[in-house]
């Protein structure tokens, strides 16, 4: 066990899986000598050589297209997109190609790869260094979408993702890259995909969330507790495929649901959570399903702190649900 930040856990996961599996190759912009702009790939080129960790030209569609070709061949590419906001030039390769390869070829060709990318706000990165684009990918059958919220999960989920037989988008909440530390095992270990985690047990309201919002919700839950409301927090960890059971079990218990995400609200991932519960657990509901989300605007710069859901806004929703 070593105490690590989430960022160090990612780096450790990459190091250990590259040792474990020589099919794993890491590449992207500035991931080599520079170790990535956040240093998530620090030391990999040195340890494993330039064939296994290397820089690419500035073209996300190239990075992902090349990863697909490698995956089809039998490697386990782990491309990095420098910021999730820059994934869109590769959107076609991801949604039209990687996601559909297994299906369209009847299983003849498969595309196991993990696209790592830092996402989310809270770092004063403005418009194009802050977005949470999970909804685009969650609406794409054939992809898996994974978001850790703790160092331990980050490493374990990353290793599980790399070992998975399908393409995974691995969204790293950059706001909490260095904010907390946790004991993380040395060597490879797995945290299974498709399984949520109860980050906090409670009986009055369920909060479903993920990524950097987990700690915001934990803060809100404490404030709620001070006001006598007992909040349960479901940290999804995998958004697709979703652990519906965990959500439905919790809602059946609490009868109230607040969904919290950073991304804009309209047509978002959080809406799917509401929709599932409104279809499958409506009879348990004692209050409207509330969402706390980014506003339906592009991500701002100066007013980031106003834009992003904070503990206050989460608490306000919890109160609304409880007092309905």
């Amino acid at each position: 066990m070593t105490t690590m930040t989430l960022l160090q856990a990612v780096n450790s996961g990459l190091k250990d899986i590259m040792q474990d599996d020589d099919r794993v190759v890491v590449f992207g912009e500035d991931v080599g000598i520079n170790g990535g702009v956040f240093r998530a790939t620090e030391g990999l080129t040195k340890q494993y050589g330039e064939e296994r960790c290397f820089d690419t030209p500035l073209a996300e569609s190239g990075i992902i297209g090349v990863a697909i070709g490698m995956a089809l061949y039998g490697m386990r590419p782990v491309p990095e997109i420098q910021f999730a906001d820059f994934i869109f030039p590769a959107f076609d390769q991801i949604v039209s190609e990687a996601a559909k390869m297994r299906y369209r070829s009847g299983g003849e060709f498969t595309c196991p790869m993990v696209i790592r990318t830092p996402y989310g706000g809270g770092i004063r990165g403005g418009h194009y260094h802050s977005q949470s684009p999970e909804a685009y990918f969650c609406h794409t059958p054939g992809l898996k979408v994974v978001v850790p919220s703790t160092p331990y999960d980050a490493k374990g989920l990353l290793i599980s993702s790399i070992r998975d037989e399908d393409p995974v988008l691995f969204l790293e909440p950059k706001r909490i890259y260095r904010s907390t530390k946790q004991d993380v095992p040395e060597g490879v270990y797995e945290v299974p995909l498709g399984k949520a985690r109860i980050a906090r047990a409670g009986k009055d309201v369920t909060i479903v969330t993920f990524g950097a919002m987990v700690s915001i919700c934990e803060k809100a839950a404490e404030d709620a507790a001070a006001k006598g409301m007992d909040v349960e927090i479901v940290d999804l960890r995998t958004l697709l495929p979703l652990d519906e059971e965990a959500i439905l079990t919790s809602v059946a218990k609490t009868g109230r649901l607040v969904v919290v995400q950073e991304a804009p609200r309209f047509c978002s991932f959080g809406g799917e959570i509401s929709a599932i519960v409104a279809e499958k657990a409506i009879e348990y509901l004692q209050a409207p399903i509330l969402r706390v989300a980014g506003f339906d605007t592009p991500f701002p710069y100066s007013l980031e702190h106003v834009y992003m859901p904070d503990a206050k806004r989460v608490l306000a929703a919890v109160e609304r649900a409880v007092n309905f």
């Binding site: 297209g65 070709g69 490698m70 076609d92 070829s105 009847g106 003849e108 060709f109 399908d166």
Partner: protein, 379 residues
Amino acid sequence: MTPMAEDLLSVLEPKSAKGKSAKIALPKGLDRAKVQRMYRLMVQTRQLDDRAMKLQRQGRIGFYVPSIGQEACAVGSAFALSDKDWCYPSYREPGAALAVGVSIQAMIHQLYGNAEDVTKGRQMPVHYAFRKQRYVSVSSPIGTQIVQAVGTAMAQRIRKEKAISITYFGDGATSSNDFHTGLNFAAVYKAPTIFLCSNNQWAISCPLGQQTASDTIAVKAKAYGMPGVRVDGNDVLAVWQATSEARARALAGEGPTLIEALTFRIGPHSSSDDPSRYRPNEQLETWQKKDPIERLKKFMKSAGMWTEAFEKEVVESAIDEVNAAVKHAETVPLPASSTLFTDVYATMPPHLVEQQERLLALEKAQGGAEIDKNAAFPL
């Protein structure tokens, strides 16, 4: 339109130093049997295309993309591959599939999208995928395969395999993002990739001049610091030679090559297209005279590689094989409804299990969904 440039590699119409026509010299590495084999592959491709277009017109299959007139590009190049090489085709290279060993039956099952189609009826006709032959799943979105081929080549190099990847695309595809990215990545990493552009001078209704202002496609290689070669795409021997040379360079660690095979799309873009709306007839007639099968036949005759009996056997066996395959394919049912849900992931996740169960229950209760008889591509 595009003039035949001086520097066009040709085997069947060689020019002497003085520009006069010279004696045809079979490229090194080819022999009688191989030439005959290429001839056969081109004939098979033509027969498959002919028949498939008819099946489409008869409403027996839903869609087709003929490659008539372009057989030499696909066959000549794919015939130069070894059985470790990977092939990333577009929709217009059935000849390449045949050349790398795919059976006509397998292809015809795909046209029917039936339960014996290896791709399980998941894609429109001609979107083949054959893992055994490393013939990668054809995609409709133009250009996407170009950069993927580079990834495979990079992996081959990392794995120190003596193999290359080749990717096929049209002149229209040179405008795509992935053309740029693919060639750039390949050159930077000296990936063992061959980029084979079948420049048939049209992208549906858009002529080459509306696609690019460059004189040739081959010149685009300069932007990436890689060699660009221009070859007579209706000359199967020249295409074989250019590909073989590029392959040797790739294996020697000298990196990728862009090959422009100058050819022409004799037929419509696809079964949905009517070229008389946009294409001058004279251009078609000029190119019909350069039919790649006829040209090779002429050479083979002169070289004593062709007899009437050979022709008969080649054509008839191709027709027979296609006929038998069609006959069999039509006896095979569509894939079962349950297959809708497999192969989305390696393991079916709970939400798909649920959707599958619900559909099967509904089918059991009320009968299956009906095929919309009005649906035809495109509407």
